[in-house]
Structures are given as C-alpha cells and as structure tokens.
C-alpha cells in the first residue's frame, strides 16, 4: 500500500510541475493558436531570473517569484508586439519564428550568464519533509503542488470571471466581431501572451531548486508540456489539468519500468500517434464547417 501511495505522490509531484510548465503554453496555444517553441526558453529565463536575483541582490526564491513573473511576462509582451503579432495568419511561420527566438535566448544566456550549470537554493522554510498518509514527502514538492493549484484557480478566475477573460474568449471566438464591439484585440492578445510567458517564468523559478539551471534546460520541459496541451485539448483548462495528472502518473511509472531514453522515446511516439488520430485533443467535438 505504501508503495502505491509513494508512486501516487511521485506522480502528483511530476504532474504538478508538468501543469505548471504547460499552463502558460496551454493558454497561449488555446487562445491564440500559437505554438510557442520558445516556451522552454521562457522557463529557462525564469530559472535564471531566480538565480540572478539571488546572486546579485541576495533575494530568496520566494521573494524573487514576483519579479520573475513580471520580468518574463514583460519579455513575452515584447516578443508578441515585436514578432508574433505579424504572424497570426501564418501559423507555420510562428513555429519557426518562436523557434528562432528560443535559439537566440539560449545563446544570449550562454553568452551573458555562462554555459556552466547554476544552482538555486531551496527556501529553508520548505526544505524539510512532510508526512502525507504515512509517506514522507519533501516539503518543497507539497509547496509546488499547492502553489500550482492556487495558480490554476487564479487563471481560471481570470479567464471565466473577469471582464478580461470575457474579452479574451470573445476574441478567440470571432476576432472581427469582438473588435466591432470595441474590444482591443491586439491588447488582449499581447496581455495573454505576456501572462503565458509570465507563468512559464514562474515555472522555471520554481523548478530551479529541483534541477540544475542551464541554457539548454528548456528543451526537456517544452516537449512534455506540449504533450500535456495536445492531450488535454485546445481551450480546455480542465483538460490540461487532467492530462497533466495523467501524464504525471504515467511518466512516474514509466521511469520505474523502463530506462530513461526508452521512456522518452515512448512518450514521443505517444505524441505522434495522438496527433495523428486526435489532433484536436481528447475532448473535441465535431463542428459545423
């Protein structure tokens, strides 16, 4: 029994990190139709942000979260204004442009922060362990889980209970009509992209104490996060949660059963098969024309 609870906890922990990384991607992809290949690099920026805050200003991780969110969000805003907004009608080119941005970010970080691994310290407050159902769990993992849950609720509230959310959903439905009713579609898109980027930054800062920080770290996350989004289906926040939980449990057990490389290959194969048969995600419906 303990073994299963242990597995469950591992799965939940992986799942919450997946959701953390995927949430921003899901919002950007779901509402703007933009596959942001630079999302992993936004995560990486967030991690470096946390590191820099600590190295240069002596700020702890928790204190730097707000700065990271705002900083990476502002960067996302600039990217949307400077590049993405010209490409809404050319989805293939959006992939390429964001990929190019990702490469630039990696190189820029390598140039300015150095290519070597960096480490971010876990807040001492959270470095202990907690007992959940008789299983010892690192406190920081519990913290991430709770933080992600809160973040998800905030996002949901933003999307469905604020006028910004209403406007965003209007633009997603029909851009022209929304604009006729006075919605500033450009602004809505910019802010959405910025919010998604900010979330990615938060994700980076939060996973930084768990893994080492390097310019290439984003690549590992973006693939899994993308899978979460595709599995969950576009425009379905709850789908994203469900698929993050599912995948978390899956990769928890996969890593237990097979070697790391094979597990990775299997995940990718699953992505390929899923896209082939359900490109609209698992919860899509047939629509007129």
């Amino acid at each position: 029994m303990d073994f299963f609870i242990q597995q469950l906890m591992t799965g939940l922990s992986i799942g919450s990190i997946l959701l953390l990384v995927a949430l921003g991607l899901a919002i950007i992809y779901g509402s703007m139709g933009v596959i942001n290949m630079a999302h992993g690099e936004f995560v990486m920026l967030g991690a470096y942000g946390a590191w820099a805050m600590n190295a240069y200003f002596g700020l702890g991780l928790l204190a730097s979260l707000a700065f990271v969110f705002v900083g990476v969000g502002a960067f996302g805003f600039a990217v949307e204004r400077g590049v993405i907004r010209f490409l809404y009608r050319r989805p293939l080119d959006t992939i390429l442009a964001t990929w190019g941005i990702g490469v630039m970010l990696q190189q820029a970080v390598r140039l300015f922060a150095g290519g070597e691994l960096r480490y971010v310290e876990m807040p001492s407050l959270l470095s202990g362990t907690v007992s959940v159902f008789g299983v010892i769990v690192p406190g920081y993992r519990v913290f991430i889980f709770l933080f992600v849950a809160a973040l998800f609720l905030v996002t949901w509230f933003l999307m469905f209970r604020t006028s910004f959310g209403t406007r965003l959903r209007a633009v997603v439905q029909d851009r022209q009509t929304a604009m006729c009713f006075g919605v500033n579609a450009d602004r809505v898109y910019s802010l959405t992209f910025a919010y998604g980027a900010g979330l990615a930054g938060l994700a980076g800062a939060l996973v930084a104490p768990l893994k080492s920080v390097s310019p290439e770290m984003g690549g590992a996350y973006v693939v899994d996060a993308f899978f979460v989004v595709v599995l969950g289906g576009v425009q379905s926040l709850f789908g994203t949660v469900a698929s993050a939980a599912l995948l978390g449990q899956m990769s928890g057990s996969l890593a237990y059963l097979a070697n790391d490389t094979i597990a990775k290959a299997l995940v990718l194969l699953a992505i390929i098969v899923l896209i082939r048969f359900r490109p609209q995600g698992l919860f899509a419906t047939k629509v007129r024309s």
């Binding site: 419906t285 047939k286 629509v287 007129r288 024309s289």
Partner: protein, 250 residues
C-alpha cells in the same frame, strides 16, 4: 424512372444539432436544380454531403448508379462531381493559367502527372476558357492579385475546365454585379442538358433566370418542390420566409 442523383433519408448532426434531418432529393440527368431556403436550412451541408466534404450519419447518396456516401472526396470527384465553394477557393499563389492547368484533370495519378509538363496540352482550350470568363489578360497574373469578382469567375472557369458531369454551385453570384449575375445565369443555362447542376442561391432573380425546378429546404428537410410560381405560392414556404426577406423579393 431512376434519378441521376438521389439523396435518400440523410441525417447529419453537428454537436447534437441536426443540420440535415431526413433529406430526400432526386435530380435527373441534365437537370438544373436550385436549392433555396432560409439561413441554416442545410443547403450548403447538402452539397457537402454530395461531394464528400461532410459524412452523413445515416442515409445514402447515389449518383449515376454509385453509392457516394462512403467514397473519399477525390474519388467522388473522379466519379464526375465538381464543386464550387461559397468562399471562392482558387490557388492564390499560382497564375491564372496554372490554376486552369490544375483544373484540367484528365489524368490524376501521381505517375501520370509526373511525366507531363506543367504547361501542357491545355493550350487553346485554356485560353478560350480564360477569354470566356474575361481573364484572358490576366493569364500570367497570380490569382492573389485578382479582385473578388474575378476570383469568382476564375473558380467558375476552373469548374468548366474540370468538365464534371455533375456540378455543384454554392452561391455562385455572391459579390457579383448585376451584369455579372446575368452572365453567370447565361453560363448555367448553356450548361443545362449537358451537365447536371445543383445551385444553392439566395438571389431569387437569379433563380428565376435559371431554375426549372426549385427545391426549398427548411430545418434540414425538403419543404417543397416545384417551379418558381408553385413554390412561391406554397403556403408553408410563405410561412417559413415570413419575417425574413419573403420569397420573391430579391
């Protein structure tokens, strides 16, 4: 009497909404049939069902003795069904000439076309066709540079080049001037007899110009069928159109 095109008891639902609900339609060879009805009556969906763009949940589409409802689109096209879309769709990056070359599709196999030059045997017929729709001067122009009306004409020319036995036209006169509409009516009248044609239209003037028999659709079903006069005096039809534009007032 066996119909050339026969839709029997077709049902399609989108997301639980019944777009077509037990549609029966029977059209004989060489006939020009107009399909009218209020918005959302399922007219375009009916065309989609014939050409394979949409699959029926149940029912059958028979054309020239073949069941189409389970064939792939390109095979339906090869069986002799041509389609013009509501939103004109042409190859925007290709020149008008190349658009027409693609539409001349005697040979559709990969290996057959691999051994043929792109600029080919279309030659004279192609230029006559371009002249016919008033695009002779624009042959080398990319289709993206054409005006909306010209794009409509180009797509009609593509259909003529394709030379299908059954032609489906979805609102061919949308965005056309009075003059152009007259010309389109003229083309339709000329094709009658040689081709079987189904036209979805809102413009009643146009329908009067070309239609022998009109089918009125409402809520995914056939409501009435007959000549313009018969249909416009049909009580149910008047009822359905009441409050919208009213049939006869174009």
């Amino acid at each position: 009497m066996s119909a050339h095109l026969q839709l029997s008891d077709i049902r399609v639902s989108f997301n639980g909404f019944l777009a077509v609900n037990g549609l029966n339609l029977s059209i004989s060879k060489g006939e020009l049939r107009c399909l009218i009805g209020p918005n959302g009556a399922g007219k375009t969906t009916a065309l989609d069902l014939i050409c394979g763009k949409t699959r029926a949940d149940s029912g059958s589409v028979r054309y020239a003795g073949r069941e189409l409802s389970h064939m792939e689109e390109h095979l339906i096209a090869r069986a002799g069904v041509g389609r013009k879309f509501q939103v004109p769709s042409v190859f925007r990056q290709l020149s008008v000439r190349d658009n027409l070359e693609v539409a001349m599709c005697r040979h559709t196999g990969v290996f057959a076309t691999l051994l043929r030059p792109a600029r080919g045997r279309g030659g004279e017929g192609l230029e006559t066709l371009a002249e016919f729709v008033g695009l002779a001067d624009a042959l080398e122009e990319p289709a993206a540079n054409l005006s909306h009306g010209q794009t409509q004409w180009l797509e009609i020319a593509l259909l003529l080049a394709q030379d299908s036995e059954l032609i489906l036209l979805d609102e061919p006169t949308a965005g056309m001037t009075q003059q152009e509409t007259v010309k389109t009516a003229d083309i339709c009248n000329r094709l009658k007899g040689k081709h079987t044609i189904v036209v979805v239209e809102h413009d009643m003037g146009f329908v009067r110009e070309i239609g022998d028999v009109i089918s009125v659709m409402h809520q995914g079903q056939l409501l009435a069928e007959g000549t313009v006069r018969e249909v416009s005096q049909h009580e149910k039809v008047r009822e359905v159109y009441l409050g919208s534009m009213g049939i006869g007032g174009a």
